[in-house]
């Protein structure tokens, strides 16, 4: 049973180039409703770009993106992004706004909530990530771990059907990683559909339902965590795992 209005996300044969740099060379990714797909791979393999194409921050040159089986490429991209939450490596909180205003901005401007309504909803989301008491602080006065939890609350406030995490713990001091991973684990177990780009092999192995290994703009291997971590079939994945583990 899911606490979230999750959806199923499918990317089909995604191609994208930056100039002459063919960054995505035909990517397929399927994330079943309520499950977590982790995406691993060396730096520069196109993981971040894939996330940005799937929520149409960048338009794919070729391929299709389906939410609950329906292509979303003809929809208004702004409306698609309201259905997909995204969390960044660098948090990207709005430094000139309070924590509560970071969370309530989209509720007020995009969901048309009144100021009071948006604030009480924001406080509820902050409570969920354990930071209600920081509602009136500025992001700069929070630790990295706290900032990332606010960023998660900001994305969750829009009641997304899918959540993207792009190396959400890579910029954190080691002692702060655990709190954020725990929160992500809670979301995964609560039934959120998630695509998690990560270097945390423990999370990928223990929490995700499927693992996709990308290299050079291609999916090199994908399957269950069991398969990829215990019986990697390709030399590239073996090499990658021996480097990171």
């Amino acid at each position: 049973m899911s606490e979230f209005a999750s959806g199923t996300l499918t990317a089909k044969n995604i191609h994208l180039s930056f100039g002459s740099n063919h960054v995505l060379r035909g990517i397929d990714l399927h994330v079943e409703k309520g499950t977590t797909a982790s995406v691993i791979g060396p730096s520069g393999s196109g993981k971040s770009t894939l996330l940005r194409v799937m929520n149409r921050l960048i338009e794919p040159a070729k391929g299709d993106i389906l939410l609950d089986g329906r292509s979303v490429l003809k929809d208004n991209p702004d409306e698609l992004r309201r259905r997909i939450g995204m969390v960044f490596q660098q948090f990207n909180l709005f430094p000139h706004k309070t924590v509560a205003d970071n969370v309530s901005l989209a509720l007020r401007k995009l969901r048309g909530m009144s100021k009071e309504q948006a604030r009480s909803e924001a406080l509820a989301q902050l409570d969920l990530v354990g930071l209600k008491h920081k509602a009136d602080a500025r992001p700069a006065n929070l630790s990295g771990g706290q900032q990332q939890r606010v960023a998660i609350a900001r994305a969750l406030a829009m009641k997304p059907e899918v959540m993207f995490f792009d190396e959400a713990t890579s910029a954190l001091d080691p002692e702060l990683v655990k709190g954020v991973l725990a929160l992500m684990t809670d979301l995964a177990q609560g039934g959120m559909t998630m695509v998690v780009v990560t270097h945390e092999m423990g999370f990928s192995r223990n929490v995700s339902d499927t693992v996709t290994f990308m290299d050079g703009g291609l999916v090199v291997e994908s399957g269950s965590p069991e398969q990829l971590f215990t019986e990697p079939r390709t030399e590239r994945l073996k090499g990658f795992l021996s480097d990171v583990l």
Partner: protein, 257 residues
């Protein structure tokens, strides 16, 4: 000529109390208000022009970028006195025919505004472009369009960080407003410098200029210090202390995973 004579002569030139006594009330009554009106109105209009130029300068439309570029290069590249003279004298007859007004005062404001708009445009543009790309991306990821993202998140941050440069620009306007004397405005429309200049002609010494200088310094020095304070404040933020992360407050059942 001994030292005492030299000092006496300098005193008569720069600190003639009679001339000062005459000029200072006039400064308060006419000069100062006019300097402030010129600087503030052209500053406000210049800020609006600058905002439009900055938005054109960062727009995705190459024609808009070009127009902004040319405007900025031309108005920043000309001496202020030349711009004021050309606009003031060039458009004077047209304004007279259209409105019947012979006062070059509005044209002086226009010239100062057009000029400061070019500088302010560059200040805004650099501020907006210095905002981290992640801010636009995060705002768009929430579902905001490009325009709303710029308006709600990127531009306010860009402006905030160039406030010191903006105040500096206002200081420059206070000083440059002295150049409108080249247009020969009416007696009641004269600003600090010209009041000093007029009275220096009758007193035969430079004391009225010294008085004018003091008036400028009283306006500009506090603003300069305000800029420094603002700059420090924006750099370091309000003094508030950071707390360590209290991981225990969040970790739910996931902590055991």
């Amino acid at each position: 000529m001994d030292l005492q004579e030299i000092l006496k002569q300098l005193g008569e030139t720069f600190l003639d109390w009679n001339a000062m006594g005459e000029v200072i009330p006039k400064m308060f009554a006419v000069g100062l208000p006019n300097t402030l009106v010129l600087a503030v109105t052209s500053g406000i209009i210049g800020t609006l022009i600058g905002m439009v130029l900055a938005l054109m300068g960062i727009s995705r439309n190459p024609v808009a970028r070009w127009i902004a570029r040319i405007y900025t290069d031309v108005l920043r590249g000309l001496p202020a006195v030349l711009t004021i003279l050309v606009i003031g004298l060039g458009f004077g007859p047209i304004i007279r025919q259209l409105t019947g007004s012979t006062s070059p005062y509005p044209l002086a404001v226009a010239a100062l505004a057009l000029m400061s708009g070019a500088y302010i445009g560059e200040i805004f543009r650099s501020g907006i472009q210095s905002v981290d790309k992640g801010q636009l991306e995060a705002t768009r990821a929430l579902g905001f369009g490009y325009g709303a993202s710029m308006r709600l998140v990127v531009v306010p941050q860009g402006i905030r960080r160039v406030l010191p440069a903006l105040v500096n620009q206002f200081i420059a306007l206070i000083k440059d407003s002295s150049l409108v004397f080249v247009l020969g405005v009416l007696a009641s429309e004269r600003e600090v410098f010209q009041i000093g200049k007029d009275l220096a002609a009758t007193s035969g010494n430079l004391s009225p200029y010294v008085a004018a200088g003091l008036f400028y310094l009283v306006m500009t020095i506090p603003l300069t210090h305000f800029v420094n304070w603002l700059d420090r404040r924006l750099r370091t933020g309000r003094p508030e202390k950071k707390e360590p992360d209290e991981a225990a407050a969040v970790v739910g059942k996931g902590a055991q995973a």
